[in-house]
Symmetry: none
Subunit: 278 residues, 2 copies
């Protein structure tokens, strides 16, 4: 039951100076993920404006999120790196996903990695029957769940929270046991000289290991990836059979692709009718 008094009844003390008050707010937020300004002002016996000033400071350090009427923890959903990447270029990724889906035939076995573009491909595959989908991504797996016509194999291990996927040796070994018709990767960057690059070393290790057993590799990358700098090398152009993107690549990439026989598929803009939200 709710007492009429403040629910925060652990020892305010008569005088609380700013630094300790800010620390106290943070501590309270650990217990209750959101607090109202009025509540805090009563709790510390100071004006609401003072609380707001404290919160402005906390917000600048990125530790809390200011909302109308109070504060709350920067909750996973909105600040997580994965969600941020998910929103970047979402339209382009959706188009790419649909275009890549045209490479898939019923009955195929697909190995799909954890990129956000890969997720859109999986969504586009909702109505393709008799697929076998192998993935290391929790997001991809969640999307496939409840499609009784598609078999789902998930690689486990320690989960990387940022990528929502497993990249460890167990995941590599498990995925390596399949012989997929298509091995589908999202890539973080494409370099004319060095080929396909990534940012997360574990992810790159995972992909490199699976290139060995791949029959045909498909790479999904939106047009912002061309010329971007990566930190680890994943594959050369020669390794990849198909590249699906949303805009014609710059010329150096086209010639490099032609030299190695890599097919480049450019997705058409989505027809307005079928645009599907999140």
């Amino acid at each position: 039951m709710q007492t009429p008094f403040s629910p925060l009844d652990d020892a305010p003390g008569p005088r609380v100076i700013q630094s300790s008050r800010i620390a106290a707010i943070l501590k309270l937020l650990e217990a209750r993920s959101s607090l109202s300004i009025a509540e805090l002002a009563a709790r510390f016996d100071c004006s609401e404006e003072t609380i707001r000033r404290d919160i402005r400071q906390l917000e600048q350090t990125g530790r809390v999120l200011k909302v109308h009427g109070g504060v709350r923890m920067p909750d996973a959903d909105f600040e997580a790196p994965y969600r941020l990447r998910f929103r970047e270029q979402a339209d382009a990724k959706q188009q790419i996903g649909r275009a890549a889906a045209e490479l898939v035939e019923p009955g195929m076995t697909l190995l799909i990695d954890s990129g956000t573009t890969s997720f859109w491909l999986v969504r586009a595959l909702a109505r393709v029957p008799d697929l076998t989908i192998v993935t290391n991504s929790i997001e991809v797996a969640s999307e496939v769940l409840g499609r009784p016509k598609q078999r789902l194999f998930l690689a486990g291990g320690i989960i990387n929270h940022d990528y929502r996927a497993a990249f460890g040796p167990e995941a590599i070994a498990y995925c390596g046991g399949f012989i997929p018709d298509l091995t589908i990767f999202s890539m973080g960057a494409i370099d004319v000289e060095r080929g396909f690059l990534d940012f997360e070393p574990d992810e790159a290790t995972f992909k490199r290991a699976l290139i060995e057993s791949a029959r045909r590799i498909v790479v999904l990358a939106d047009s912002t990836k061309f010329g971007r700098k990566g930190t680890t090398r994943v594959a050369g152009f020669g390794d990849v059979a198909d590249l699906v993107t949303d805009a014609p690549p710059p010329h150096p990439f086209v010639t490099a692709a032609a030299a190695t026989g890599m097919a480049v598929h450019v997705a058409r803009p989505a027809s307005a009718a079928e645009a599907q939200p999140l």
Copy 2:
């Protein structure tokens, strides 16, 4: 005036600010596939128009579907078996999850299975720091994602769509490699003579294998499970250290529990103070 026994009378709190109200609606929708505007307005003690505005926001992000008279989950048409089980006794399961969370200390390693009651435990563990969570359930894993203070290990293999989890030999081997402080199982049925039972043979095999390496086994079961008939035997009363449920069990079960030293914890109904949205 609130109806005395509204199914939603946990935790309006004194003032509910907009952002937390929107988050709360989302959470409520997980337990009850559809909600009416009038119900929500009463629940949050605000006008129906305000609820409609919240819902319009939620609809724009594609997270819910607006229907005449209320909201519902986007995928509610195809009620998958998992979702159906999830909604049965959702309130009781939520209470059990909260009660079981009191057995957990910061720093522990937990092995958590794929039952819907287990999911509510994981949700109740949102703010416990430094946990290591091992699971074979995609739903549990999704819930843990984005909690940087908790390490997540996911067991893979072929996924059972109905249970949204992996039960195969890879999952057994992987989970068997851990020595968890608590091994937490949801159970499908409890029989005075035969102990804890289940319906899905694969799930039962998975649990039986993990009983070997368990240090302390905790079983979560709502009160409808007592006396229900199962199809496969999972564990005897002697194997289980703690049983968490939502109502005092019938007498034969109490004596059986006492005979084997199994502790029985009965969850209190949710107190309004602690149900904290988002």
